[in-house]
Each structure stands twice: as structure tokens, then as C-alpha cells.
């Protein structure tokens, strides 16, 4: 009795298990073991057969019967050659010869014939069987039916062929790497397009293939992509690569792991698309866009008035600010021109659209409006005629415009707006009003019979602000919030020279977020003899105080007060207001602070600062008293009176105040 000891190598171990059941001298335990082994043999899904060295079959298990169609009774005793096709008979001679030499035959794939004549693909493992003396007396043979596997392999080969054709004929560079990143295969396109041979690539780590040239960066990135893909992670990026002739190009590079059913990464699959032309085209497009923006901007500026003529009694300034977006140029305009009767016409508008065509349309609209203005009875009629012009000449099918005519001698303003935000008016005292009594729909090229117009009387010193919606519009914000913000800003800067008003408004309203739309602002002030009186009343918040400084500076400058005296007045009034804010409304609701200033004929400025709270004696610390020291030092006749109604501080500032001497 003997059997071949398994060698512990998986399939091969099973393949080696074979039995000879012909030993008559076995004892009881041996017999039991034999029975046990016979059961194992019968349960195997592989055919297990034993034969003598001449080929006579001596055992035949259940799977052998199933695979080859012969029952054990009919085949035992026959020669194994009945299973072997005619053309393969020589195989058996070879097998027997090797067995006699004691060799093993493993996983030998061949074809055998079943009882019904059907060929069966089998994988054979054959081992010699020895008797107790160690002599080879026969062979055990395990035959695995691999017909199904063969079919699967053929299907796979077909799929591979298909894959090969895709792999080699697509417009995509592709390769197959092992999980260490060594190139296994590479498609024809990747080689042909870049001028390399298969030998330049296959076998090398992917990051060391000549594609990446000397670029440490590219190599590092590719190596990183290999590492990521080995752990199952795809990646993509754009990298430079080098052709065989040294030309550098760009590839959009991807790396995918190829994972088997068990989730194990088997191969890596880099692909690439050459995007050199695409990138170049995109850059060219960007350059074109930038160029168009420059041209549109140039055209825009050329079409807008470069400067305004000085007119007695009127200060006038305007500013155009392009949006931040590349193509958001054009469309907004401003203009100011004299009418034959001596009045001043001002306008701001917006032709919908951006870029060159909008800028060009804007130029036409602006010119048309100036030409039509002379012949119309008033602003409403100007807008009606302008719409007729736009319809006839197909200049644009959507524009908004506001237009006003100012009589500097009387202060009367006539105005009309087609779909445009109303004109803002800030009086010399800082009161806000909107010229909003003549709103009509935008100019759409469809004739509107009725364009209303309004008129109002402006006090001397009133500031008018005409603007395009880019100044006030914010995404996700109601328009009236923007209008209120503009009113606050305009009030704060109303006393500045008109050029500065424009600059300040754009700066103050444009800083919060990236602005995409362009902005046109036009500011007019009806000059008056500078008022000898300055009065402001405001809530006791420090934020308001800063704007007060701006207003005071404007008033003092208009009076012709020199810089050193301006400083004295500003600081003294500021300290008085700061005291009121800090001390008057302790333990009570804050009310207002009122500042009044009067220019005296001798160059002095008389100041009164009043609050409506309760005076608290200031802490006696020297530091706290510095504000008072400053006021006393800068002014003459400094007096402070506190009553139950509040505190009044009065002083005079003389020309030749301390700041003029050092």
C-alpha cells in the first residue's frame, strides 16, 4: 500500500493524492485509511484514474465517469489509450516513458475523447505509483475538465483582440503598466504620434520613459500618479511631454487602476490626450478677448467726452470705470453739452450689451441724443425722438437713459428717465431727494407715445448725481438698498470738489466686491456764493462724525480758508463733538449733536456745538482733559455752558491760528 505524499503546494498537492487499492497485505487500519481515501477520491470533482505502466486502467472514480462517459465497470481493465485521440497517441508513449523515469507530469493541457466521441479539454497531472519496495508499478492520473475554462479563454482572447484594436486605433494615448509602474504595453498611437519605438518604452518604469524628458517635475507627478493608482486611486492632470524630435507638447494625462473582481489592483492604465493645440487655441482666444476689451475700452473712452468746458456757476465732472470682467466693457455713457438757450444738458445712459458692438452703439446713441436735443421741446420729447432714431437705425433694441436740462441762472431742472435709475440730488444742507417724477420704460425701439418729464427747483449749492446702475447694483440685493447706500455716500462727500465726488463715489461703492458691470457717474453742482453759514445736525455716532469732517473741510475750502486754519477748526470742532458724544448721553438714549459755523467778515469762524443731553463733569485726569486743552489752545473765547436742555460749546477760530506757527 502506498500513496504519494502531498507536497503542500495547493492544486498540485491535491493532484498528487492517489491510491492503489490492490494491496492484499494491508491490516485493518490500513484498510480503514484506504476506505477513507477512496471516499475522498470519489468526492473529487476531478477525474482520478490509476493505471499500470502498460496503460491498463486499474481505478476510475465518479468524476472520471461523469467527464468521460464510461462507467467504472466498463472501463477498468481497458487500456487508457481508448481515451486518447488518434493524432495524440504518441503523447501516451511519452507520458509512460517519463513515468518510468519517475518524473511527475503536471498541468499538461491536452484533449481526450469521451465515450460519445466528444473531445474534452483536460489538464492532466500524472504521478508514478510505487509499491512498498519503491518500485514504480503504475500511475495515478488526475484529469481536470477545462472545456469551460478554454471557452472562457477564447472569449477573453476575442475581447482582448477587440481591446487591442481600440487600444491601438483610438485617438487616445494608452498604456498598460504593472502595479509597480513598469510598462507592459503601449498603444500604437502613443508611439507613432511621439516618434518612439516600443523598445524605448516597454519594461521601463513609466515615469522613466523618454516622454517625460528631463522634467523632474513631470517624472515626480507621474510617479505619484502610479503610486496612487496602485492603491486604487485614479488621478488626472496636465503635463508637458517630449516627442522623440525634442518638441515639447502638453498632454492631459489620466491614470486609472484596473481592478479585478476581488477588488485587487492588477494593472495600471494611463491614458493621455494631446491638448497642445487646444491650449494654444484657448490662449489665443483669451488674447483675442483681451484685445477686444482693449479696443472696446479705447473706443469707449474715445466716444466719451474727454473733458468739459468750464461754465460759470456750474461745476461739472464725470467718470467712467470699466468693469472687471474681460468682456464687460462698453455700453455706459455720460455727456454734457450746452443748449442754444444757454442751459446745460446732462445725460447718463446704458446700452445693453458688452464689448465692441455695445461701445459702438453707445457712441451712436450719445451722438443722436446730442443732435436731437436742440430740436426738442423738453427732456420727455428728446427721449421719444431718441427711441424713434434707435428703431429706424437698428442701433440697439434696449437702452436706458436719463437726461436733464439745468438752468444755472434760475436753478430749474427739467428731467426724464427711460428705464434708468433716477437722478440723486443732495442739497447744500445735506438733504437727499430723488428726481423720480418722470420714469418711463427703457428705450426698446418700439415707439412709446408718451415719455413724461418732470421739473424741480434746485437750491444753490445742490449736487446732482447721474449714474449708471453699475454703481448701485449688487447681486442678491434689492435696488433700493444700493440707492440708499449711494445717498449716504453722496451726502458724506457732497462738499468735496465735483471731481473728487466722482472718485469717492466709485471708490466707496465699488470696494465691497468684484464689480463686473461698468460704471458711469456724472456730478453737477449749482455753484452759489459759498454760504457764510454751515449747519449740521446728526445722531451721536462716531461714524457720522467722520463724514462731518469731510463736509467741514469742503465748506472751509470753499470759503478760501487756508490749510492751517482748516486744521484748527476741524480739530476744535471734532473735540467738541467727541465730548458731546462721550459725555452727554451717559445713561440715556443718545440724541443728536448740532454743529453751526458762521464765517465772519474778518476771516474768523464762529463755532457753536450743541448737544441735548446731560453734562457730566469729566474725570479730572489730565489725559481726559486734553480735548479741552486742545480746544482752548486752538480757539479764542472758548465757553461751555450746561443746562438741563444740554451743553453748548462756543468758540472762535481766528485766521493765523496756532497751526500756522511752529
Amino acid at each position: 500500500m502506498g500513496y504519494v505524499v502531498p507536497d503542500g503546494r495547493g492544486d498540485a498537492a491535491r493532484a498528487r493524492l492517489s491510491v492503489s487499492v490492490t494491496d492484499p497485505n494491508g491490516d485493518f487500519f490500513e484498510a480503514e485509511r484506504v476506505a477513507h481515501l477512496a471516499a475522498v477520491v470519489d468526492a473529487s470533482s476531478d477525474a482520478i484514474v490509476s493505471k499500470t505502466l502498460t496503460g491498463t486502467i486499474t481505478s476510475w472514480n465518479a468524476s472520471a465517469a461523469r467527464i468521460f462517459g464510461y462507467a467504472a465497470e466498463e472501463i477498468i481493465g481497458q487500456n487508457i489509450r481508448v481515451l486518447i485521440p488518434e493524432e495524440r497517441q504518441a503523447e501516451e508513449d511519452e507520458i509512460l516513458a517519463r513515468l518510468r523515469r519517475g518524473e511527475l507530469i503536471e498541468h499538461y493541457e491536452t484533449v481526450r475523447i469521451a465515450k460519445d466521441g466528444r473531445p474534452v479539454d483536460v489538464s492532466l497531472s500524472i504521478s508514478p505509483v510505487r509499491d512498498r519496495m519503491g518500485r514504480i508499478v503504475g500511475a495515478s492520473k488526475i484529469a481536470r475538465d477545462i472545456t469551460t475554462r478554454r471557452q472562457a479563454e477564447e472569449a477573453l482572447a476575442a475581447a482582448n483582440a477587440k481591446f487591442e484594436s481600440v487600444f491601438n486605433q483610438s485617438g487616445i494615448f494608452a498604456a498598460i503598466l504593472d502595479t509597480n509602474g513598469a510598462v507592459r504595453d503601449i498603444n500604437a498611437l502613443a508611439l507613432e504620434a511621439s516618434g518612439y519605438t516600443r523598445d524605448d518604452m516597454v519594461g521601463r518604469p513609466y515615469w522613466e520613459t523618454p516622454w517625460w524628458g528631463d522634467s523632474e517635475h513631470a517624472r515626480a507627478r507621474v510617479r505619484r500618479a502610479v503610486e496612487r493608482a496602485s492603491s486604487g486611486e485614479s488621478s488626472a492632470e496636465t503635463l508637458p511631454y517630449v516627442m522623440a524630435d525634442g518638441t515639447e507638447r502638453l498632454v492631459e494625462f489620466r491614470m486609472h487602476p484596473i481592478v479585478d473582481d476581488a477588488g485587487v489592483t492588477r494593472f495600471l492604465h494611463p491614458t493621455g490626450i494631446d491638448i497642445t493645440e487646444r491650449v494654444a487655441a484657448e490662449a489665443a482666444l483669451k488674447a483675442l478677448e483681451a484685445e477686444e476689451r482693449e479696443i472696446a475700452l479705447g473706443l469707449q473712452r474715445a466716444l466719451l467726452p474727454a473733458s468739459f468746458v468750464d461754465r460759470p456757476g456750474i461745476a461739472l465732472a464725470a467718470q467712467y470705470e470699466a468693469g472687471s470682467d474681460v468682456l464687460e466693457v462698453g455700453g455706459d455713457w455720460f455727456d454734457a453739452f450746452d443748449l442754444p438757450d444757454g442751459r446745460l444738458a446732462v445725460t447718463v445712459g446704458d446700452v445693453v450689451g458688452h464689448g465692441l458692438s455695445a461701445a459702438a452703439a453707445m457712441g451712436q446713441v450719445r451722438t443722436a441724443l446730442a443732435a436731437l436735443a436742440d430740436h426738442a421741446a423738453g427732456p420727455g420729447e428728446v427721449l421719444m425722438r431718441l427711441e424713434g432714431f434707435l428703431a429706424r437705425h437698428e442701433t440697439t433694441d434696449f437702452a436706458t437713459v436719463c437726461y436733464a436740462v439745468i438752468d444755472p441762472t434760475t436753478g430749474v431742472v427739467e428731467y426724464a428717465s427711460a428705464g434708468h435709475p433716477p437722478i440723486l440730488a443732495v442739497s447744500a444742507a445735506g438733504e437727499i431727494s430723488w428726481l423720480d417724477q418722470a420714469q418711463s420704460p427703457p428705450l426698446s425701439g418700439a415707439y412709446s407715445p408718451d415719455r413724461p418729464q418732470g421739473s424741480t427747483l434746485l437750491e444753490p449749492g445742490t449736487l446732482l448725481v447721474l449714474f449708471s446702475d453699475g454703481l448701485v447694483e449688487r447681486r442678491k440685493e434689492p435696488i433700493d438698498v444700493g440707492l440708499r447706500r449711494l445717498a449716504d455716500a453722496a451726502r458724506a462727500v457732497a462738499d468735496l470738489p465735483v471731481e473728487d465726488v466722482c472718485t469717492e463715489l466709485i471708490a466707496r461703492l465699488g470696494v465691497d466686491e468684484a464689480r463686473s458691470d461698468d460704471i458711469a457717474v456724472l456730478v453737477v453742482r449749482l455753484e452759489a456764493q459759498p454760504s457764510a453759514r454751515f449747519e449740521r445736525r446728526f445722531p451721536a455716532h462716531s461714524a457720522q462724525l467722520r463724514d462731518l469732517r469731510t463736509s467741514m473741510r469742503g465748506w472751509l475750502r470753499a470759503l478760501g480758508v487756508g490749510e492751517p486754519m482748516q486744521r484748527s477748526v476741524l480739530l476744535a470742532v471734532w473735540e467738541a463733538c467727541a465730548n458731546a458724544i462721550e459725555h452727554a448721553y451717559v445713561d440715556m438714549a443718545p440724541s443728536d449733536v448740532r454743529v453751526e459755523m458762521q464765517a465772519a467778515g474778518n476771516g474768523e469762524v464762529l463755532v457753536e456745538v450743541r448737544d441735548f443731553g446731560r453734562f457730566r463733569s469729566m474725570t479730572s485726569s489730565a489725559d481726559r482733559g486734553r480735548g479741552t486743552t486742545i480746544m482752548r489752545e486752538l480757539t479764542t473765547d472758548f465757553r461751555r455752558e450746561s443746562t438741563s436742555a444740554g451743553t453748548v460749546v462756543r468758540f472762535r477760530v481766528e485766521s493765523g491760528a496756532p497751526f500756522e506757527h511752529e
Binding site: L570, A578, R626, I630, E633, L634
Partner: protein, 113 residues
Amino acid sequence: MSDPAAPRIESEHGNVVVHLSGDIDFSNTETLETEISRAVLGADSIVIDLEAIEFLDSSGLRLLKRLSAHATEADASFVVVAPPNSVARSVIEIVSLSQELAVQDSLQPPNRP
């Protein structure tokens, strides 16, 4: 009128120079104090440059006094730079603070005899 820019700090070997610009008034002294105190922490020498100041009020002067006092406690030297005729210098001199603060005309150290 211009808003105060954030203080520009130069710091080298324990010498800290704080350049201030724009307006200093009671609406921003608290913020400035926090920023400057942080910047001069552990300094041996502190210079506050007021050359570019456009407006300075009494609360700004109090801020300078407090910074100076803190510097003395911390054994650091403390100098204010305000050129003659500058806004800051005028205000400092009006309240005679130049007697309590070390005020220099320029960032260059004064020539020693």
C-alpha cells in the same frame, strides 16, 4: 479724509518701528492700540512713525501716552517721529505733550554730540 491704513510694522533685533497713516481718532484708537501692543510685545526699542498722519485727536494723544507708559514699564525705549509742521507734531505741541513724550523730527536717530 482717509481711513487709517493698518499699521505697517518693521521689526528687527528687538527694534520695532510702527508706521501709522491716515486718520487717528476715537473711532479707531482701540483697534490701533490692540494691533500696536501686539506688535511691540517684547521689543527693546519702539518707534511710532506719525509722519503720514492726516488727522490726530485727543484720544490719539492718549493712545500715545499709554503706549509710552507701557514701554517704560517694559523697559523699552519709546520714540515718536513727527516732523515739524506735520499734523501730528502740531497737535502734540499744542498740548505740550512734547515735554512728556520723546519726539523726533525724523526716523534717523538724532546726532549725538
